[in-house]
């Protein structure tokens, strides 16, 4: 080790991830000032109002759903899943990038994550909230949702633990709980910062209660660091399992086009792909409006774009493999299902999704595209649309045309399908912008550790 060439050490020095010139104080002030100010930017007002308006649309459509039942949607046998499950899979996939950034990148010691993990985790929470609504609303009698849990009841019946739909209940509820805990633990030191910096009595009281008496003691930090690592270690297999279990909802069924062993990795890659797209869609306007370019730098955008490109290529590979398997298996139903997807009534959706998910991300190979936030923003929107279409095509085409041509039926969404979907986008925006206004969107204490002055200089020690 001693005769290692110094050249190698120099090359291994990580390049700084945040702009030079920050101090512990200025980092704290800049991030906390977004929350602890009376002034609310017009951008925030606009986004929040849009979110609130769409949230009202959601309440309207859900009220109608409760009154009239799932018949207000376009779902009819054989297409029983339609938009609701498409949206469920899409939203939960978006959530996955947040956990990936906060947990997997923490374990891999990728320090650049420190300035985007907080809002990515918040994104996860709100995306899971949107996702979780759909299976419930889709149940027909949503107010009986607790029947899915095993509890002693007078009916004397219990859930079927051999069904992937019951696995989903456990996977998604565990995911929501663990994401919340991870996010809250991450917030505790920053809540203490807000408590100490708030001048308003009321704000100080609320942040103080949430911080629970956190006092930045070395004894706290000692347990805290262990807790973050352990939670990251638990969240990592969890996030991979959640979309795997979601894909089991499909693969365990014998429907052609669903019954396939490569769905779990394919779904997980797609989830991370769409999740990073959402991270970019949120981060690019936020950093511009709040002047956070020094903390969420070009490097963060570049890295996220690279993750998007890599997972996009995995998704593209999965499409190829899906087609290859359908042909190579020699199974007439599999190949007919694939052929119907490509040339049948949903061919437009299929080819549009291929364009969005496979062709569009190829531009991310170029550094010039990755260096332009506006282009990245547009590319991410394209990916989000593409991934939604992918879920739609998988679910609807396979159900609409399965084994028996006499039972085929085309699915057409009604306006309430669209209203519910747009409504959850509203719920997401509403919750996300409340979070931006009320809690620090960047983890303050983790950014402090990134500063060069956070290093302990050991020279001159006795």
């Amino acid at each position: 080790m001693a005769d290692e060439r110094p050249l190698i050490d120099e090359e291994l020095q990580p390049e700084p991830v945040i702009a030079p010139g920050y101090t512990f104080g200025t980092v704290t002030d800049q991030i906390a000032s977004v929350v602890l100010t009376r002034r609310t930017p017009v951008f925030w007002m606009a986004c929040f109002s849009a979110g609130f308006a769409l949230l009202l649309l959601l309440l309207w459509s859900v009220a109608l759903l409760f009154a009239k039942g799932v018949g207000i949607w376009g779902i009819k046998i054989p297409v029983g899943w339609g938009f609701a499950i498409t949206n469920f899979v899409w939203w939960i996939g978006i959530g996955h990038a947040g956990t990936l950034i906060s947990a997997i990148l923490l374990l891999l010691n990728q320090q650049w994550r420190n300035s985007i993990n907080r809002f990515a985790e918040a994104m996860t929470l709100f995306a899971v909230a949107c996702a979780g609504m759909f299976p419930l609303l889709h149940m027909g009698r949503p107010w009986l949702f607790y029947w899915m849990f095993p509890y002693p009841n007078t009916m004397g019946v219990q859930p079927q633990f051999r069904s992937p739909l019951v696995w989903d209940v456990f996977a998604v509820s565990t995911y929501a709980t663990v994401s919340f805990l991870f996010w809250f633990v991450g917030l505790m030191p920053d809540l203490a910062t807000l408590r100490d910096r708030a001048t308003n009595r009321w704000a100080r009281g609320v942040y103080g209660m949430l911080a629970m008496g956190w006092r930045n003691s070395v004894r706290h930090w000692h347990h805290y660091e262990t807790a973050s690592l352990l939670l990251a270690g638990l969240a990592t297999p969890l996030v991979l399992s959640v979309h795997t279990v979601v894909s089991f909802d499909f693969t365990i069924a014998i429907v052609p086009g669903w019954h396939s062993t490569f769905f779990p990795p394919y779904f997980v890659a797609g989830a991370i792909y769409s999740g990073f797209a959402m991270v970019l869609v949120l981060a690019i306007p936020l950093r511009a409006v709040y002047g956070l370019e020094g903390l969420i730098t070009e490097k963060h955008l570049d890295n996220s774009a690279k993750v998007m490109l890599a997972t996009g290529l995995i998704v593209g590979y999965s499409y190829m493999l899906e087609t290859f398997t359908a042909w190579y298996s020699g199974n007439v139903y599999e190949s007919a299902a694939l052929w119907n997807r490509m040339t049948g009534p949903y061919a437009g959706a299929y080819w549009f999704l291929i364009t969005c998910n496979v062709v569009a991300p190829q531009f991310l190979w170029f550094k010039r595209v990755r260096g332009k936030p506006i282009l990245l923003f547009l590319a991410s929107l394209v990916v989000l649309v593409g991934m939604w279409l992918e879920r739609f095509v998988i679910i609807v085409t396979s159900l609409a045309q399965d084994y028996l041509p006499s039972s085929w039926r085309i699915f057409t969404p009604t306006r309430w399908d669209w209203a519910t979907y747009l409504g959850t986008i509203g719920l997401f925006l509403f919750l996300f912008f409340l979070f931006i206004r009320l809690l620090p969107m960047i983890s303050i204490f983790e950014v402090r550790t990134l500063l060069p002055q956070a290093k302990i200089e050991e020279e001159g020690q006795a």
């Binding site: 004397g156 910062t193 629970m212 347990h223 262990t226 638990l234 402090r448 302990i456």
Partner: protein, 182 residues
């Protein structure tokens, strides 16, 4: 040694430093002088401090392990009880104890219980929630969550002497030394 039965007149003496290196050096110096009831307050985690102050290893991993094992057992036994004893359904003579089908929920509950015990364990080991603590009586202590680094020697330390300890802390060239009222 037990805490003295007579409550000392103050909680301790606190010194404020500008940067993490000064704090780590000060903590090391205080340990070398024989002070044992020390605490340091920093705006971000500093690994070296835990070493310097000889903090025992965190018990949290053990708590999480126990939580995880309990979660796994709960998941498996719950499914076993429901599918084999409470609500058996015979489908074409397939075995009731179909353990491969139990894996997913067993796994999910393992993670769930482990994560919940990690958070409760963290709060328990840190003694949170704590509505009141004397260190907040020092007005400048609010900066511990922003940009300053504090070292506190508690009055319960056997070597503690109001004057001598304050002089010792002054000798470490802090920005300021303050007494912490109860």
């Amino acid at each position: 040694m037990r805490v003295r039965s007579v409550r000392p007149p103050i909680y301790g003496v606190m010194a404020e430093f500008n940067n993490p290196t000064a704090l780590v050096n000060a903590a090391r110096e205080a340990r070398a002088r024989g002070y044992r009831r020390l605490d340091a307050y920093t705006p971000f985690p500093i690994e070296e401090l835990a070493e310097v102050l000889h903090l025992p290893k965190s018990k949290l991993p053990l708590i999480v392990l126990i939580g995880g094992i309990l979660g796994g057992l709960t998941g498996y036994l719950m499914q076993y009880y429901v599918t084999v004893i409470y609500f058996p359904i015979n489908i074409g003579g397939r075995p009731l104890h179909s353990w491969p089908m139990y894996i997913v929920i067993t796994f999910e509950l393992t993670i769930l219980f482990a994560a919940i015990s990690a958070v409760l364990g963290l709060l328990g080991l840190c003694g949170l929630p704590m509505p009141y603590h004397p260190v907040f009586n020092v007005p400048r202590f609010a900066r511990a969550s922003r940009s300053r680094f504090f070292l506190c020697i508690q009055a319960t330390d056997p070597l503690f002497d109001r004057k001598a300890t304050e002089d010792f802390l002054e000798s470490l060239e802090p920005r300021e030394v303050a007494e912490v009222a109860h």
